[in-house]
């Protein structure tokens, strides 16, 4: 096979251009609209002739701006806070999932507790469970069962420290949401990392052990650096799910732990939608995944194909 690029029919390029426009078009449309005033969006002087304004972004970010924009009387949209919540939840759950998942994957490969089949069945089973199915039990458990009794030792201490009434429960805390995200993503991460760890030659580990490294040192200093591409793919997938998830977060969060998707849905369901502002929030939510896609599309495709082709 020659590796040179074949000359193609112009119609072929037209088709490609059309496809690209179809897949990226809506995103660009949202991007453009987020710089328009609502008047411009509604009046329909469409096209590219409009005065770009960052007013929408100012409205969206009003609770963390260092200056007070002139056009806002009252900062109702607490986007900044939600953004920070989303960031905390997504980052911590990604890191936890990776650490715990890579350890488990290592154990599965090296010590052969179960066959690889067991791992793939579990992955499939968990992939099968829709978040909506987890909603009911998680809502019940996090609110009623996973609590420290308010009169108990730990619960009392937490309540004294942070205030609040009633029992101290997982619901409404960052850790509650993080816990379910970690659990949801673990099987997939374990399974993806397994295929990378299998490729690490055993002799490397033995050499490290002969030099006097303990099992944890071998794992963190020898194995982890060697499976970086796998870690990157797994990290992107975990982060994406934790960052984009709406349903479970909406059930488990309270006023102070709202994430960005919840904020967007709450603002959408009102009758009179402020398109400009909502598009600006949407754009801000979409930016991290877009950046990841542009930087690491290769890893994403690896993760995606590994997820199905070997399934």
């Amino acid at each position: 096979m020659d590796r040179s690029h074949e000359k193609q029919n112009p119609a072929f390029y037209a088709v490609i251009a059309l496809l690209v426009m179809m897949s990226v078009g809506p995103v660009i449309l949202m991007f453009v609209n987020s710089f328009k005033l609502d008047v411009d969006i509604i009046s329909g002087t469409s096209g590219l002739i409009f005065m770009p304004t960052i007013q929408n972004y100012e409205t969206a970010l009003c609770d963390i701006l260092w200056y007070e924009p002139d056009h806002i009387d009252f900062c109702s949209l607490k986007f900044g806070g939600a953004f920070v919540n989303s960031l905390i939840i997504a980052l911590i759950s990604t890191v936890l999932t990776l650490v715990i998942g890579s350890m488990a994957a290592y154990a599965l490969v090296r010590f052969r507790f179960f066959g690889r089949d067991t791992a793939s069945i579990t992955t499939l089973m968990v992939r099968m469970v829709p978040p909506a199915v987890l909603l009911v039990p998680v809502f019940g458990l996090w609110n009623n069962e996973f609590c420290f009794d308010r009169d108990g030792l730990i619960g009392g201490a937490i309540r004294d420290a942070f205030g609040g009434r009633g029992d101290v429960c997982l619901a409404g805390t960052h850790s509650g949401i993080i816990l379910i995200y970690v659990a949801m993503n673990l099987p997939f991460v374990i399974w993806i990392l397994q295929s990378f760890i299998v490729q690490v030659p055993r002799s490397l580990e033995e050499a490290a052990r002969v030099d006097g490294a303990g099992p944890f040192q071998v794992f963190f200093k020898v194995i982890l650096p060697l499976i970086k591409p796998g870690l990157a793919a797994a990290a992107i997938f975990t982060f994406r799910i934790a960052w984009n998830e709406y349903l479970l977060a909406s059930a488990l969060s309270d006023r102070n732990t709202k994430t960005v998707p919840i904020l967007i849905v709450n603002n959408m369901s009102e009758f009179n939608v402020e398109w400009g502002v909502i598009m600006a929030t949407g754009m801000l939510l979409a930016i991290p995944p877009i950046i990841f896609t542009l930087l690491a599309s290769r890893q994403i495709i690896t993760g995606m194909t590994a997820g199905a082709v070997k399934g």
Binding site: A104, R127, L247, I264, I290, S297, T305
Partner: protein, 291 residues
């Protein structure tokens, strides 16, 4: 020792909740009660649901949604993969552009499409007006179609990427042989490429089918299940039963129905991959016997 944290977390946050849900589905349970206080009602929740026309409607919508989405996405995705499987400059850039819709939050996807479907200011109706056609009531009388279109936009690239990966790993020798024997491009596709890709395609289709039962946010933002029940898929109905109607027991029973459907699909998929492996092994054995 390395396994302990993973096992602990999955037991606490996955296995236990699922068991809890199955237990809860036999009770008349509302959110103010703990599960111990709720009255045990046996199979009542399941039976009520089975005779509930709304639930049936919702189940029908879910099945229709999944069927149309997966069928159209498979045809488009595989078609595109066959079309674009050439040595062209910038293929990686193209793939990057295509995976963009999948990476964006479903909530944002819903937001974009809700704008484009808007009856007066939306992109589609403006376009129709400009070319002199009458408006279409996208999220009203054609709600299900519109929702399916949005899902197709988001997920066709997934099938495309996987089909392309499958195409590019096909044995070159078979294609070469066909070309030398004078097979037309169509014959190559129908008799060689598609049969060889079939195992991957079936797994991909099943994965997509399972995922299409999980779609919720896009529909929630686009139509909130309306108008009427026309787009209320099961996942959405579960969440509404739990949070609006406050009937956790019924919602749990509904979740179990959904789980059973998905379980059947998963088992089918697993059985299929096992079957493939066995067949491959038998072919290999036969080949070794011959030599």
């Amino acid at each position: 020792m390395f396994m302990a944290p993973a096992v602990a977390i999955m037991a606490v946050a996955l296995i236990y909740p699922l068991g809890y849900m199955i237990w809860g589905s036999f009770r008349a349970w509302d959110p103010t009660q703990t599960i111990g206080e709720a009255e045990f009602v046996g199979l009542k929740n399941y039976i009520t649901l089975w005779s509930d026309p709304n639930f049936r409607e919702s189940l029908g919508v879910t099945l229709r949604f999944a069927f149309f989405c997966v069928t159209i996405e498979m045809v488009l995705g595989v078609g595109l993969a066959l079309l674009l499987d050439r040595n062209i400059r910038g293929m990686s850039v193209l793939r990057t552009m295509f995976i963009l819709p999948m990476m964006i939050a479903p909530v944002v996807v819903g937001l974009m499409w809700r704008y484009m479907y808007h009856p007066t200011v939306g992109t589609f109706n403006r376009f129709l007006e400009r070319v002199g056609l009458s408006d279409v009531d996208w999220l009203g009388s054609h709600a299900l179609t519109s929702v399916i279109i949005a899902d197709i936009w988001q997920w066709t690239p997934f099938i495309f990427i996987l089909a392309l990966a499958a195409l590019q790993s096909l044995p070159r020798s078979a294609l070469e042989a066909a070309r030398i024997d004078g097979a037309t491009p169509w014959q190559q596709i129908i008799h060689i490429k598609l049969p060889l890709m079939m195992p991957v395609l079936i797994v991909t289709g099943l994965l997509r089918l399972i995922d299409s039962f999980k779609v919720l946010e896009v529909i929630l933002v686009l139509t909130e299940g309306g108008p009427g029940l026309s787009t209320e898929i099961l996942a959405l109905r579960i969440s509404r039963t739990a949070t609006e109607f406050r009937e956790l027991g019924v919602a749990a029973a509904m979740s179990n129905y959904l789980l059973i459907i998905l379980m059947l699909l998963t088992v089918a998929m697993f059985a299929f991959t096992k079957f493939q492996e066995i067949r491959a092994a038998r072919v290999r054995m036969a080949a070794e016997d011959d030599s």
